[in-house]
Structures are given as C-alpha cells and as structure tokens.
C-alpha cells in the first residue's frame, strides 16, 4: 500500500518534472528562434500584411490618412501607364527567355568540356554577377553612349550606322535585356554545371560506344536529364525579370516614352517621389497576384526535385 503510493507519487513527480523539462526545452527552442521571429515579423510579415492594408488606405509620409476603399485600385487601373508597364514586363520576360535563357545552358555544356580550363571559365562567367550593379551599369552607359560609345564606334568601323541604343524606344528594351543576361548568365551557368556533373558519366560512355555523336549525346542525354533544372531556372528567370528595376532606373528612368518602365519602377516613383504609399501598395498587390503563380510553380519544382533525389 505505502510502497504503491510512493511509487505513484514518484511517478506523478516524474511526469511533472518531465513536463517542466518539456516546457523548458520549448522555451529554449523558441529562444533560439526568437531573433528570427522578431526580425521576420518586423521586416517581412508585418509589411506583407501592410501592403494589402495600405492598398485600401490613403497613406503618405505623415502616416495613415483614412480608408479609401478601392480608390487606389481605380486610380491604378485608370492610369494607362499601368498597362504599359505590364506590357513592358511581358516583353522583358519574353525577350529575356528568347535572348538569354539558352545562353547559360550552352555555356555550361561548353565549359563542362574544357578539362583543365573549366575552373578558369567558371570564374570568368561569374564575374559580372559580382560587380555592384549600379557601378556596372555606369560602365554600360559608356558602352551604349550615342557619341563616342564603344558599341557605336564598333559599328562605324564596320561601316554600319550608329544607333541610339537607350534613346530609341525599339532598341532600349533589348539593350537592357543584354545587360540583364550579362549580369545573370554566370550564376545560372554554374547551377547548370553542377547539374551536368551529377549525370552519371557511364551514360555518355555507353552512348559514345554505341556511336551517338556529340550533338546526339547533348540532345538525347544531357538536355533531357537537365530538364528539371531548366524548368526551375526558367521560372526563376521569369520571377527575377518581372521585378526589373535597377537597369531602367539608372539607365533610362523608364523612358523613352515609358517604353522601359516596369511595375517596380512605378512602385518606386509612386512611393518615393510622390509619397503615395497607398497607390504604391496597390501596385505591390498587382505584382503579388501576378508573380504568385510563378512563385508557387517555383516551390513545387524545387520540392519535386528534392523528393526525387
């Protein structure tokens, strides 16, 4: 009897101590998480919620000025620049896919074959990504300069007419896409290289013995096995290009005639030149809605990759 009571009390104290121990562990676990939770709340989660709230409010440098219903959205949809900016975005994305998407794949296939020079070229293609973009763009401004610019000097040497690269509405977008490809191709090339190296070399060996040409091996072995990586990179490229800002901001300020403006540039102008935070947030929501499709696709693609590995 007595021994049973002591046993049960010791059991309850044991359970109690296990429970305090559990809560102490939970406290510790959350202590480790605390800095991240506080900072994410402050700079990410609270601002995300606020983007949606601001879009229904009048907000300026002085703070909240009242609820305005859909007025910000009416103004956004009523402004022709909205459609121009999104049409530009579509053009940027299409041009970047046409002009740029193949570049890192081709570079990776070539660099992968370079034996002793692989490391060298790997560093070289990654260099543009390293340059502070604002500094790199000022060099590009000299390259595209109408008079005395390097590109036009080259054209003159070849007896071709010089062009107003950044001042001509038809040329400005492709000119910016060339810069974006120059900046972004290196990082993608490295990722494709990693993916190429994961392909078992036995596959290429067997194909070579069976008489497959180099091109066949690229088309029927390398590219199909890179397919998942390519899908991920294309979605990522769409997400990144749709957020284009620095290139038009520094080189063209959206011109000529709004032909290079982008939603982010419009967000910047609404918020920081007109301190119209409400309108800027409505633009932000339009980006959130448009890009969420691709973001979800990106996560699904990366997870799928992980699950299969």
């Amino acid at each position: 009897m007595t021994s049973a009571t002591t046993a049960s009390t010791s059991l309850t104290t044991q359970a109690a101590s296990r429970r305090t121990n559990y809560w102490r562990k939970q406290g510790l676990a959350y202590l480790f998480l605390l800095p991240a939770l506080v900072i994410f709340t402050l700079v990410t989660w609270y601002p995300i919620v606020n983007t949606i709230l601001f879009s229904f409010q009048k907000v300026n440098a002085g703070g909240f000025q009242g609820w305005v219903g859909l007025a910000n959205y009416t103004r956004m949809f009523g402004n022709p620049v909205f459609y121009v900016a999104w049409k530009n975005t579509l053009m940027y994305v299409v041009l970047s896919l046409v002009m740029g998407a193949m570049v890192p794949i081709v570079l990776a296939l070539m660099i992968n074959e370079m034996r002793g020079l692989t490391t060298f070229f790997q560093i070289i293609v990654y260099l543009p990504t390293l340059i502070p973009i604002a500094v790199g763009l000022l060099v590009w401004r000299q390259i595209y300069a109408p008079e005395g610019g390097i590109l036009n000097e080259l054209l003159l040497r070849l007896d071709l007419p010089p062009q107003l690269w950044l001042q001509n509405a038809d040329l400005a977008k492709p000119a910016l896409i060339v810069i974006m490809t120059w900046v972004g191709a290196g990082g993608s090339t490295l990722l494709y290289l990693y993916a190429l190296r994961e392909i078992p070399t036995e596959l290429f060996e067997a194909a070579e013995l069976d008489g497959f040409s180099v091109l066949d091996r690229i088309l029927y072995i390398a590219l199909p096995l890179l397919r998942h990586r390519i899908e991920i990179m294309l979605v990522l490229q769409i997400i990144i290009v749709a957020q284009v800002f620095t290139e038009p901001f520094i080189l063209t300020n959206g011109g000529p005639a709004n032909s290079t403006t982008s939603p982010v540039l419009e967000i910047y102008n609404a918020a920081f030149t007109r301190t119209d935070f409400g309108l800027a947030s409505a633009w932000g929501v339009s980006m959130l809605v448009t890009l969420s499709v691709f973001s979800v696709l990106y996560i699904v693609f990366t997870r799928r990759d992980l699950i299969q590995e």
């Binding site: 973009i133 932000g284 992980l306």
Partner: protein, 283 residues
C-alpha cells in the same frame, strides 16, 4: 569511379581530329564570351588611366600613351573612397554576420530542438521565400521610418538578417550532422548552446562560409535598399554614392573609382571558387 574524368566526350575522343575541332570551336566561343564578361573591368581600368580629354575622344583605344596612375589616387581622395569602403564594409559585414547568426540559431532550433509548430514555421518560411521582396518594400520602409532607423545601419541590417532561404538551407545542412555526436555531448552534460557552438557550427563551417560569401557579394553591390535607407552622404555605400555622384566628376576619375569598387567582391569570388559546393545549395 575511374571513369570520372570525362565530359560528354571521352578523353580519347577529345584528342581525335573531330574532338579537337569541336574543342577549338568551344574554346573560340568561350574566349569571346570571356572577353565580353571581363570587358567592363578592363574598360573601367583603362578608362581610369586616360586624361579627361582623351577618355571621351571617339574611337576605340585600348591603352593610353601616358597612363595616368595618379588618377587612381585622385579618385580615391575626391570620392573619399576610404570612407566609402569602410561604410560598405560595415553595411555588408554587419549584414553577413547578422544573417548568419540569426539564421543559424533559427535553423538549429528547427533542426534539433523540436519547437512546437515546427512544420508550420517551415511552411511560413517557404511561403515567405515565394513572396518577392519588392512587393512589401514600401511598408517595410515605413516601418523603418517609424522606428527612426533611416540613416542608421541597423535599418539596413534588419532586412539583411531575415533570409528564409538561408534558414532553410542551414536547417537542411544541420539535419545531416550525425545524431551520435550530440548524444555523446549530452552524456558529457553539454548544454544546447555549447553543442551549437562546438558541434553544429564547426561541422557546418563550409556551408556557412559559402552562404556568407554569397551574402557578402550581394550586400556589397546592393543598391535599392541602401539607397532608400542611407540618405546621409557620410553613411552611404559605394554603389549608392557612385550613383549619386555620377554627373559630378570627369569620366576618367569616375571610371577609376568604379574599378576600385569592383575589387572586393572579386576577391570574395576567388575564395568562393575555392570552397564552392560541389552540388549547389539545397533546402
């Protein structure tokens, strides 16, 4: 394993006539690409050596007759580059340390300490990763303004510390550390903080280094956020200051300053190359 040293072509094929021709073609293309990739470095370097008239003279010139090396010291002094390098180092360095610390602590908790709602937190981080930062830039700026963190490096660092990508990558890396190590340490009576410091961090040093270098390169060249937060010219970073001063200086001096601004991230890349992960970073 013995067949590892080959690309899509085998070494024998690589040495055949056909292989040599393909190799030569690849090499030509890559050499051309390499020139395009290095071009802005070379251009800003040589443009910085001309005098202010020659540099804007039309025509293609590769090297000045009398290189003016003093342009570089001139640019250093007139741009107050020492101050700018210090500011940028503070901005990028603080960002890297903060991001690594905050992310490593969070990832350790998620990986080892089984906090309640662990999967929910991970899901929220993944969703956060999917929301483009630009969407909530304006409200984030308003938060910083309200906290009076404009013209304050803390206002710059706080967003740098919030990287869901880094938490998820580190969480994955920490999960790979063998449990026996922790069990042995637990028997020896080590606290969680001790295990974090003595087991987790040292065993993940290469991942931490690579993530840190990537973050450093990104923060060093970051433009929009420092442009918004640092209005005071004494606090501005290289990219912000060089952009603000783009019209105030002769081109040759300007290009000399630009070239010097490109050097630190290039050094970081050199280290990155030596420690580059073989399979990329996953989460």
């Amino acid at each position: 394993m013995g067949t590892a040293n080959r690309g899509i072509m085998s070494n024998t094929e690589w040495r055949s006539l056909r292989g040599r021709l393909i190799g030569l073609f690849y090499l030509l293309v890559l050499a051309l690409v390499a020139i395009l990739m290095i071009f802005p470095f070379i251009f800003s370097f040589t443009a910085g050596l001309y005098n202010s008239i020659e540099v804007v003279k039309p025509g293609l010139h590769l090297w000045p007759e009398n290189p003016l090396w003093e342009n570089y010291t001139d640019a250093w002094n007139r741009f107050k580059l020492g101050r700018l390098f210090l500011n940028t180092a503070i901005a990028a360095g603080g960002g890297v340390v903060g991001q690594l610390l905050v992310s490593a602590l969070a990832a350790y908790s998620l990986s080892r300490l089984r906090p309640m709602g662990k999967n929910l937190i991970r899901a929220i981080l993944l969703i956060t990763l999917a929301v483009p930062g630009i969407v909530y830039l304006v409200p984030r700026y308003v938060v910083m303004a309200r906290l009076d963190l404009i013209d304050n490096f803390v206002g710059l660092w706080l967003p740098y510390c919030a990287s869901s990508f880094m938490i998820l990558v580190l969480n994955n890396a920490f999960d790979q550390i063998p449990r026996d190590l922790y069990e042995a340490a637990e028997i020896d009576g080590a606290s969680e903080v001790r295990m974090f410091m003595n087991i987790t961090l040292p065993l993940s040093s290469s991942v931490l280094l690579v993530l840190g270098l990537f973050a450093f390169i990104g923060f060093w060249g970051d433009f929009l956020w420092p442009f918004l937060i640092l209005r005071d010219s004494d606090l501005q970073t290289l990219s912000v200051r060089l952009y603000t001063l783009r019209r105030g200086f002769p081109l040759n001096i300007y290009m000399a300053a630009s070239f010097m601004a490109m050097i630190p991230p290039a050094i970081a890349a050199f280290f990155l190359q030596r420690h580059a992960p073989k399979g990329g970073l996953t989460f």
